[in-house]
């Protein structure tokens, strides 16, 4: 049976990207609670996208979406949830653990 490539929704990518942008804009303007709402929305959409990319066989984009999900959760104040994703990423790909540590370092320095 031929394999079928799992589609990654353009609409989902667009909505997620705009949630990231709205979160960053709100954060830049000091609207903290609004920023957190949009970061949370972006995080959950990134997790869906990460699975979709994985199903489609694009593991680099899947990993990128998981890093974005964790970064979004962190900036929404859900640090333990973010850390759990970072831990999963480190365990699943130890060769890339330095990259994840760099991202965590950036998030900690931004607090």
């Amino acid at each position: 049976m031929a394999s079928v490539q799992f589609p990654v929704s353009d609409m989902l990518i667009t909505v997620k990207s705009r949630e990231v942008q709205r979160a960053m804009a709100a954060e830049m303007a000091g609207r903290t609670s609004e920023a957190q709402r949009h970061f949370l929305a972006a995080a959950h959409l990134e997790l869906v996208l990460a699975d979709d990319y994985e199903q489609a066989g694009d593991f680099e984009l899947s990993r990128r979406s998981r890093i974005s999900a964790a970064s979004s959760l962190w900036r929404a104040g859900r640090i333990s949830d973010a850390q759990a994703i970072f831990d999963d990423l480190t365990q699943s790909d130890p060769d890339q653990s330095g990259d994840v540590q760099d991202v965590i370092g950036e998030l900690k320095s931004g607090q």
Partner: protein, 170 residues
């Protein structure tokens, strides 16, 4: 090449541009420039364009002056510069080969963008002073080169002269 900030949503339809376009107007005006804002972009090995100088005239027609003023009141100057840099990058990418920004994701404290069907990564940096351009350029380029095996875009801009560099590297 004359490009309108108000056309950014048509050039890159997946992203939101209202605040970015308004921030660009605020930053150019605060640096003493009037529309059309002159911008000298050095383009390096960008697919579909190649290398060379890209002289942009950036037009503010269609950008709400009310929104520009609101951003000036609510956003710190360095944040405005960050947003304005994204706007200039969006115009330059479109002007140099018609490249489309398709996605934005968070990466720690910053964001990275995906360009075109090939999903090439792009990092953008904005600076208010010309003398800070080279350091920003080296920092972004070295960081992406260390992180990636595939091709990537880097765009750094400064609003003092104003000028910038847009490169594709592998």
């Amino acid at each position: 090449m004359k490009l309108r900030l108000a056309d950014l949503p048509d050039m890159h339809p997946r992203l939101l541009w209202d605040d970015i376009a308004a921030a660009a107007v605020a930053v150019f005006e605060d640096q003493g420039f009037a529309s059309p804002f002159p911008f000298a972009m050095e383009v390096e090995q960008v697919p579909g364009y190649g290398s060379g100088s890209l002289a942009l005239e950036i037009v503010d027609q269609g950008i709400s002056a009310v929104r520009v003023e609101k951003l000036r009141r609510t956003m710190e100057a360095h944040r405005l510069v960050e947003l304005a840099a994204i706007g200039v990058a969006g115009l330059a990418l479109f002007g140099a080969g018609g490249h489309v920004m398709r996605d934005v994701a968070l990466r720690g404290s910053s964001a990275d963008y995906l360009i075109g069907e090939e999903n090439h990564l792009l990092e953008i940096a904005g600076r208010s002073r010309h003398r800070d351009l080279q350091a920003a350029w080296g920092d972004r380029r070295n960081r992406l080169a260390a992180r990636l095996d595939s091709g990537f875009f880097v765009c750094v801009v400064e609003f003092e002269t104003p000028s910038g560099r847009l490169a594709f590297a592998t």
